[in-house]
């Protein structure tokens, strides 16, 4: 029986469905509770902390020689800035932790916190990119001139000539609002000090348990062996739970200091204010086109508002550098110039969020295609046909290697599914009735499962990428797979069990995948960059092949046949072409309890280890949105949303589609609803879910998915990652659709989210412009 390719119900689910999931807050029961005192202002000098003497306050002075977090890139164009664990002389954003109090319950901790007052001499903050870049602007960090933390450039020799020779040059400025990842479970940690060993068990809602161990140990100046980090059930992460946060360092410090169990469970206000944000970007994009629509060159000025500090380990370079490297996307771009800056402001720091810059650059590039097509009088499909990559492997102008994909095929398939010609007729008819329909597409490449080469190219001092898997079959024939990756809702345990089952020849129900425990799993990089199935899956496949060989040796000896003649399936080992067979369970028992008979496996027994560290692989998709815009209210309604996705071999199609659904929903949120808003003083105006608009079931339409499957050897399992594609592609399709709907009004959308208010304003301005003509 084969398991890969089946929509197997997830092994993760029964526990979660019965409310038995062990999320961090469950583990906090009985712990002493920390409450952080946070900066109420965006910029200023701390003058005093006043508290009744009976309230012990944890401050920088109390923490002693705990080291700040200082994420690094090995590049001259990057300025490292240390982030103190608790702010001492200055505060740099609203929500920055300054101190903490500890009590027996959360309510008591809040009561204590209310008795502490903080005196701060406020200063004029820099909140926006314009403010931060203005001549003479106050500096967030004295070491970062012009508030510039990274200033990267790229230029091919002939880019100027390409623009000079162009038939048509189009340009615009594209603005992306700031977004919050908003996992439904806020962050949180429980640190339990063990009096017997002196170790701390840190359970945290994290995507990266091993790196959290490294980061906390480094900050506290202790060996990593003194810490055990567990990622229990994690209620969503989307990138926000990758980075090391100062709060976790304080939690572990407090557990050691007070020799007890200490917890911090973030509330939603803290999460929206002081957890990480993303996507606050402004791109100025110029495209040079030949008369036939082929793209000659791109010139991009990429500005990213990265907030007050750099995140560990990805650094604040993650958004600008990703934007610069991946801007060409699925297109042939012969000449390219880019400048990518990360600008510090007195706002919450940025971290990776599902898609990392690519939702923004894809929206900008796809707007560029439609905008240029209109000027060149080409169909949007046609201009893309002339530019999409069709030969593989393709090395992009920035040196990124694309393995085989189906960029063109996905677009043509999506166009057939929605029947573009038929839509155009309907659109014309609707316009006569005063209804404004629009169709928009986006074609994109999603780099997934990048290994160390991809991150080394970014010159990260901490270079993630590889994944290691340890397999151990126990004497009862059950298999344990210990993985470095750390899933949080993706269904990885089920998908890996399916892969392993096929490779070894046992049932997935007999496989237990162990993750998120640094004492039990090999060092790994957790879950991000759509990597886990590609990398942990690849390592599983390699390790499984080695384990299967060992089982074949034991079976061969047991059945008096050559190991190479043994086949294993459905838990039985057969001699090929005969009816001689033995159960895998019997083999496992013998391997442990009659080991003297099996010298061939004396070194490792029934275990195997493998590491997988490939370059990475690209999945791709085309999204098409059909929308209707109500010009009276500015309301956008999504009538249809189609995805043609190529994620290579689908291990569990149901899980793949779930990832696409959720990704598209977050992309729609990015395009139409969600925006973190600060006022001029750097005060957060969107600190609740009544202000920060996460879409509900009423806003997210049915998402129609079709699959293509390009199999490449860039992924040893044939599977490509699929975690971020929905989020990357959806905003571009929506913005193009809204622009198409409003084309009769002379409106092009170059911002997101595009809210009813902004549409109403564009309609007023567009109307005014038309009146001028």
């Amino acid at each position: 029986m084969r398991w890969v390719g089946r929509s197997l119900p997830r092994y993760e689910d029964p526990i979660l469905l019965q409310g038995r999931g062990r999320y961090t807050a469950v583990l906090a029961r009985g712990a002493r509770i920390l409450r952080f005192l946070r900066s109420p202002v965006s910029r200023g000098r701390i003058l005093a902390l006043n508290a009744p003497p009976e309230i012990p306050i944890i401050t920088t002075a109390v923490l002693g020689d705990v080291k700040p977090v200082c994420p690094r890139l090995d590049r001259p164009d990057y300025v490292p800035v240390p982030q103190p664990i608790l702010a001492h002389d200055r505060v740099s954003y609203v929500g920055e932790p300054i101190a903490a109090v500890i009590a027996d319950t959360a309510a008591q901790a809040e009561d204590l916190a209310e008795q502490v007052t903080i005196e701060i001499e406020t200063e004029t903050p820099v909140v926006t990119l314009n403010q931060a870049l203005a001549p003479g602007a106050p500096l967030v960090h004295d070491t970062a001139a012009q508030n510039t933390l990274i200033d990267a450039r790229f230029e091919t020799p002939e880019v100027g000539a390409a623009f000079a020779a162009a038939h048509q040059v189009v340009e615009f400025t594209f603005t992306s609002g700031r977004q919050a990842a908003m996992p439904l479970e806020p962050r949180g940690a429980v640190a339990a000090f063990d009096l017997a060993t002196g170790r701390v068990l840190l359970s945290a809602s994290t995507q990266m348990p091993h790196l959290l161990r490294t980061g906390v140990a480094d900050a506290l100046g202790i060996p990593e062996s003194e810490l055990r980090v567990i990622a229990p059930e994690v209620g969503g992460g989307f990138g926000q739970k990758m980075a090391l946060i100062p709060e976790y360092v304080v939690v572990v410090w407090a557990a050691r200091h007070f020799a007890c169990t200490v917890a911090w469970i973030e509330d939603r206000l803290e999460n929206l204010t002081a957890s990480f944000h993303a996507r606050d970007q402004r791109l100025h994009l110029r495209g040079a086109f030949h008369a036939d629509g082929s793209l000659l060159a791109i010139d991009a000025d990429i500005l990213c508002n990265v907030g007050a500090y750099s995140n560990f380990p990805a650094t604040c370079g993650v958004e600008p550098l990703m934007a610069m490297a991946d801007m060409p996307g699925p297109y042939r771009v012969p000449e390219y110039r880019a400048r990518a800056r990360g600008i510090a402001t007195n706002t919450c720091p940025m971290a990776p969020y599902r898609g990392v810059s690519r939702p923004v650059i894809t929206a900008a590039m796809e707007r560029l295609m439609d905008y240029a097509a209109a000027r060149l009088e080409l169909d949007p499909l046609e201009i893309r046909r002339r530019n999409l990559i069709t030969e593989f492997p393709h090395t992009s102008v920035t040196g990124v290697v694309h393995d085989p994909g189906s960029y063109r095929e996905a677009m043509e398939a999506a166009a057939r599914v929605v029947d573009v010609a038929q839509f155009r007729e309907r659109q014309q008819q609707a316009r006569l009735d005063g209804r404004w329909l629009g169709l928009g597409m986006s074609v994109f490449a999603e780099r997934t499962g990048p290994g160390t080469p991809a991150f080394a190219a970014r010159r990260m001092v901490i270079t993630p990428g590889y994944e290691r898997v340890e397999l151990v079959m126990d004497p009862s024939g059950f298999l344990e797979a210990r993985i470095g990756s750390s899933p949080h809702g993706q269904g990885l345990r089920t998908a890996l069990a399916q892969l392993l089952a096929d490779e070894i020849g046992i049932a997935p129900a007999e496989i237990r995948v162990i993750s998120g425990d640094t004492d039990r799993t090999p060092y790994g990089w957790g879950t991000f960059a759509s990597r886990s199935l590609v990398l942990a899956g690849g390592a599983c496949k390699l390790a499984a092949a080695a384990l299967r060989e060992r089982l074949q040796m034991v079976a061969g000896q047991t059945l008096e046949a050559a190991a190479s003649d043994i086949e294993i399936s459905d838990g039985r080992a057969f001699v090929r072409g005969t009816d001689l067979a033995v159960d895998v369970r019997q083999l496992a028992r013998a391997a442990y309890h009659q080991s003297h008979r099996f010298e061939a496996i004396a070194d490792t027994g029934l275990s195997a280890v493998a590491t997988y560290d490939p370059y990475g692989t690209f999945s791709n998709a085309c999204h098409i949105a059909i929308v209707e815009v109500d010009v009276a209210t500015g309301q956008v309604t999504i009538e249809r949303f189609v995805v043609v996705e190529d994620a290579g071999r689908l291990v569990n199609p149901m899980i793949v589609e779930g990832q696409i659904h959720g990704g598209v929903a977050q992309g729609i949120a990015n395009a139409l609803y969600e925006k973190v808003v600060y006022d001029d003083g750097g005060n957060l105006l969107t600190g609740s879910l009544a202000d920060y608009l996460v879409p509900t079931m009423a806003e997210i339409p049915r998402i129609e998915i079709h699959h293509l499957a390009t199999l490449t050897d860039a992924s040893v399992t044939g599977a490509k990652g699929v975690g971020e594609g929905g989020t990357i592609g959806a905003p571009a399709a929506i913005l193009n659709a809204v622009s198409d709907a409003l084309a009769p009004f002379g409106i092009d959308i170059f911002e997101m989210p595009i809210t009813p208010q902004s549409i109403a304003q564009l309609l007023r301005e567009g109307g005014a412009k038309r009146n001028e003509r």
Partner: protein, 158 residues
């Protein structure tokens, strides 16, 4: 704030008396005093619905209700849905149709869906979509939640 009050209510059929501060939310009382941690807290300001429980068969944001307001009430939580090893049809449908990913919103959606289907077993998709828009999910894009509840409704009508 330290003057505690006794509150008596039934949770999933069991009569419970707990002694709580008047300010304690029902959600905190269920989680900390009754040990029923399946009810999750996502926002604590009544928007996300992760903490939805049934109080006298009505769906309630347990983060917005004081425990003392539950005096003599009949409270139902996600822990009371399955009958022993047998999952409730809604739980089974969520499993079959991938109606959950990280699982954090799931108890709230299950309880909300229980109340919707108890009130209107024949509810159609448009009204169901509107009713389920009470709660937030960040992982699934809602599609498989809708599919799961429709499937459960069909199974429960049989």
């Amino acid at each position: 704030m330290s003057d505690r009050l006794d509150v008596t209510f039934t949770v999933n059929g069991d009569k419970r008396t707990i002694c709580v501060e008047p300010r304690r939310s029902l959600a905190d009382a269920l989680r900390d005093d009754c040990g029923l941690t399946g009810t999750h807290l996502g926002c604590e300001h009544g928007v996300c619905g992760a903490c939805t429980v049934l109080v006298d068969d009505q769906p309630v944001r347990s983060c917005l209700m004081f425990a003392v307001q539950a005096e003599a009430a009949r409270v139902r939580t996600v822990e009371g849905l399955a009958a022993g090893d047998k999952l409730h049809p809604l739980q089974q449908a969520f499993w079959d149709h991938h109606g959950l990913q990280c699982g954090f919103c799931t108890p709230g959606f299950l309880m909300l869906a229980v109340s919707i289907l108890e009130r209107d077993p024949d509810i159609g998709e448009p009204r169901l979509r509107e009713a389920l828009s009470s709660n937030l999910c960040r992982c699934t894009g809602y599609q498989n939640i809708l599919k799961s509840v429709l499937a459960a409704a069909a199974a429960m009508r049989k």
